[in-house]
């Protein structure tokens, strides 16, 4: 027997009709009123199941908002923990990197002889104690007080502070003289060291030295293109006022500097040869033949390592590679050692690893 037959059998039309005739019993009106009143009271006391309806109506919007918030939080977290991954060229995230790029751009501009007075005036105090060759890439490092080497210039000699702006101007041409290769070469070594002390130098700089970049004389540049600074610095240290120079003269000097870029390497070697000279002697003695007799490697190395700390591991390795290619293995090794300490798990390039070994 089919299901339909069962249903037809169960639904007897005659029975249904007879039953409907008898189905007139209804609840009393009083009961109806009581129940309906209770239903209305229930609605008025709890008008709407807010939680359920809210969740139903805003489910989609809440989901989207949650996804957006989660995404933004994730990106923010990643940017904080690994800025080089999120924004490799970001100014805020990687100041050192951006400075490197700006330094490269500046060197490229220098080839066209464009003067850059603004950067010259920002040269820090210790500039006078560093070889001019090292100034080329001073924008690579962030200040790191922990690694800052002993200050060569002492505050007891007021002339030191005054000498700085002049020294800046004197050394700036040499800095610009460096080509890009020299810039990269000396990035970790010397020029980087200048940045940390910039804030210290600026407050001390008197107004009369505002035009310090004009201090070096063209004659000095002619005599020694590598080091336009010696006479200027020594003269300033001796209390001589650096003669004010026009912007035109400064531009000419910069051109001379940019043309003598190869000499900057020699200047770097000269620095090593003369590196035993102490910094105080430089700042306090008129007999100092040249301001390149800078406080040598100890503070420089410290600041160099410090400078590497602030750059990305890739940039750091690039610098080490540059040092290695230039045959400066000792510096490359020390820098690599510092790198390994800083980034123990970082995979080193095979070329660099083998080359250093």
């Amino acid at each position: 027997m089919s299901e339909t037959t069962h249903s037809d059998f169960a639904r007897d039309a005659r029975l249904a009709a007879i039953y409907r005739a008898s189905a007139e019993d209804m609840p009393p009106p009083v009961l109806d009123a009581a129940i309906l009143a209770a239903a209305r009271r229930e609605v008025s006391s709890r008008p709407r199941p807010a939680g359920v309806s809210f969740a139903r109506s805003w489910r989609g919007a809440l989901s989207i908002a949650a996804v957006v918030v989660l995404s933004v939080s994730l990106v923010t977290l990643m940017r904080e923990e690994a800025p080089e991954v999120v924004s490799p060229a970001g100014e805020e995230a990687l100041p050192a990197d951006s400075k490197l790029k700006s330094s490269i751009a500046e060197n490229n501009d220098e080839a066209g002889g464009e003067p850059r007075r603004g950067r010259e005036t920002e040269t820090p105090k210790s500039l006078g104690l560093k070889p001019s060759h090292s100034m080329s890439s001073s924008g690579l490092v962030m200040p790191q007080p922990d690694f800052r080497g002993p200050r060569v210039q002492t505050s007891k000699d007021a002339s030191v502070g005054r000498a700085e702006p002049a020294a800046r101007g004197a050394l700036a041409p040499a800095k610009r003289r460096d080509g890009f290769a020299a810039d990269v070469d000396s990035r970790n070594n010397r020029a980087v060291e200048l940045k940390p002390q910039r804030p210290l130098a600026q407050p001390d700089a008197p107004q009369e030295f505002a035009q310090a970049p004009a201090a070096p004389k063209p004659v000095e540049l002619t005599a020694d293109k590598q080091a336009p600074t010696p006479a200027a610095v020594s003269g300033i240290v001796a209390g001589k006022n650096a003669p004010a120079k026009s912007a035109v003269a400064d531009t000419e000097r910069e051109r001379d500097s940019s043309q003598s870029a190869p000499d900057s390497l020699q200047g770097a070697r000269t620095k090593k040869e003369l590196g035993n000279q102490s910094a105080p002697a430089v700042t306090s003695s008129n007999a100092m033949p040249t301001p390149r007799l800078a406080a040598p490697s100890a503070p420089a190395t410290a600041t160099k390592l410090d400078s590497n700390v602030d750059v990305t591991p890739e940039k750091w390795l690039e610098r080490i590679e540059e040092l290695r290619k230039q045959g400066r293995l000792d510096e490359a090794k020390s820098s690599l050692t510092e790198f390994i300490k800083r980034y123990p798990g970082y995979r080193l390039p095979d070329s660099l690893r083998d080359g250093i070994k």
């Binding site: 069962h6 249903s7 059998f9 169960a10 639904r11 007897d12 005659r14 029975l15 249904a16 007879i18 039953y19 409907r20 005739a21 008898s22 189905a23 007139e24 019993d25 209804m26 609840p27 009393p28 009961l31 109806d32 009581a34 129940i35 309906l36 209770a38 239903a39 209305r40 229930e42 609605v43 008025s44 709890r46 008008p47 709407r48 199941p49 359920v52 309806s53």
Partner: protein
């Protein structure tokens, strides 16, 4: 497509759940008679049926916020009524429960008979209808319940099974027995 002018029971209950008291009025008007008769003929006493009737609807009102459409509203409503009847049987005596619990065993014939002489019940009843009511009252409670659910709420066998908490085959069997007995009783009378 024009909107459906007659909302379903489920729509009305959802509207009441969401705060529309008027939806409950419509819903109550649709089912108050069927539920009341179902209870009255199951318990056999009008006063008790009224009490149960009020309990059923109050339970529905209190549970409105948690209502979700998982089955037909009538199935939900008569399931509540069925549970109230079970509670009543348990409070009175355990004998009446036998017809609900025993699937194939002896069926009870001592379920309290409907008070046909009740003025509220018998006032407008015709002769044949009166006889039918007598026959219904004489049915075992489980079979009577299946028949009443079918007649009052137009439930299918599946819905009856859901409302009474038994299998489909059991519900169908009960219904078949009930209809057969009523037919036989009416034919015997004629």
């Amino acid at each position: 497509m024009p909107p459906n002018p007659t909302p379903t029971d489920e729509d009305l209950m959802e509207r009441y759940r969401d705060g529309d008291a008027g939806a409950f009025d419509v819903l109550y008007g649709r089912h108050k008679g069927g539920v009341f008769r179902y209870l009255a003929r199951q318990c056999g006493q009008r006063a008790t049926a009224e009490e149960l009737f009020q309990d059923v609807w109050m339970n529905l009102i209190r549970a409105r916020t948690s209502y979700t459409v998982t089955a037909k509203f009538t199935t939900y409503l008569y399931r509540v009524a069925h549970n109230r009847l079970i509670d009543l049987y348990r409070s009175q005596a355990g004998a009446a429960l036998a017809s609900f619990d025993d699937e194939g065993g002896p069926q009870l014939d001592d379920v309290p008979a409907a008070r046909v002489d009740d003025p509220a019940v018998s006032a407008d009843v015709r002769q044949q209808a009166r006889r039918l009511l007598q026959l219904i009252d004489g049915l075992p409670a489980a079979q009577r319940e299946a028949f009443l659910l079918q007649q009052e709420s137009d439930m299918s066998i599946e819905d009856i099974a859901l409302a009474t908490g038994v299998s489909r085959e059991t519900a169908k069997s009960r219904l078949r027995y009930a209809v057969a007995k009523l037919r036989e009783g009416l034919q015997h009378q004629s």
